[in-house]
Symmetry: C2
Subunit: 255 residues, 2 copies
Amino acid sequence: MTKERPLILITNDDGVLAKGINELIVCLRDLGDIIVFAPDGPRSGMASAITSLVPIKYTLLKEEEGLTIYSCSGTPVDCIKLSINEILDRKPDLLVSGINHGGNMAICVNYSGTMGAAAEGCIFDVPSIGVSLLDHAADADFSESCRLARMLARRVLKEGLPHGIYLNLNVPKTSHVLGLKVCRQADGRWIKEFKRSEDASGNPVYWLTGEFKSNQPIHPDNDMLALNSGYASLVPCKIDVTDYDFISTLNNWKL
Amino acid sequence: MTKERPLILITNDDGVLAKGINELIVCLRDLGDIIVFAPDGPRSGMASAITSLVPIKYTLLKEEEGLTIYSCSGTPVDCIKLSINEILDRKPDLLVSGINHGGNMAICVNYSGTMGAAAEGCIFDVPSIGVSLLDHAADADFSESCRLARMLARRVLKEGLPHGIYLNLNVPKTSHVLGLKVCRQADGRWIKEFKRSEDASGNPVYWLTGEFKSNQPIHPDNDMLALNSGYASLVPCKIDVTDYDFISTLNNWKL
């Protein structure tokens, strides 16, 4: 009896046609059987959004030895839910989401569809990794990201991940990454978030934009600093958002 | 010099016309000046999604002494970002998101637009509360929810909340809530998540549905158990999703 090849589920939030996901497929191809189940177009900033008001659909795009590719009308999280509930005949051994065109460090993890999909895989107890490159260009160079994603994917296939924990890998825009640092999520938020413009009738409309601002104090082991220094960052993230330390304070409020 | 009245920002994910938000407005009205900035229609399950591919707009619906109501074309998080960046002349003293038609306990916090908005308020360092009633009915009875939301809002206006922490209040569907328990987020996930149907051409489409399944072990202080016992649940949630305990393990992987 031969050991089954690992089943690797791949998705993203830039859509199935993006360069990042297609480079990821190539670099993970020999690690297992690949199922790609990804949005049919861009879904950036969708976080863990789910589609409940309209139904979703999927389409088989490609089927060959060890590689099957589907596109889906839903969000990244819909992709994970639908593929695991309805398509796959067994639970994947690994989920890799990405490679995202653009960084998902710091507070971006809160808004990211790439990381929403990784969190969803984790909820299904599938070892899950989100991978992002700090370059929004459609033709970005993913070679260093692919090298690190592959290295991490192999390791996670071997080690697994504990219940409720998923990984957030970010890669700086450089042709030579200095190394990989395990980090905490940088504390900060976006500011100057809107560009005011006008629609065809002259009514004001607002386009999301903005810049990242760190909060004080700045912890030396945060992902933003690692990336700014030329390192890739790896943050272990958890599904449970309970703040256990604050429970006793709330109990003292005697509500 | 008279002390300024508190500025209270209210939003939701069921849209500005929902019963839940309108009952909330009434019950918080005398606690401060109220700004409502809420989606123009249902945005359930939008989590912390942001709108980046299209611009967003808002409309002033009502302006009277101590109460101003806007509707917005965006997500619940867009509503918080746009109102604080572009509309309000000072930072709110409190954000209350809800009252949601439907519970947001356990893993629902991950998908909820109600809680996405509360998290976003927290990112702006506004003391923020999400409030949800475990009743999806359009004409649900919000009297107990309003009583508890008002009690909690008064207390949070007085005490504030620490940086990075927001509150998740859920209220059971009953005419007499037994009390309020401070809880941890129940560990579990949704299963049987899709109903397969057909579109007009006979092609398969999938509607999101499902039921909640608890993971083992079940912790006695979780929000799901409190709600099932007739208590309201209050979970302190954190923005930082770093799993600090797992950092040393990852460092030992020597990646």
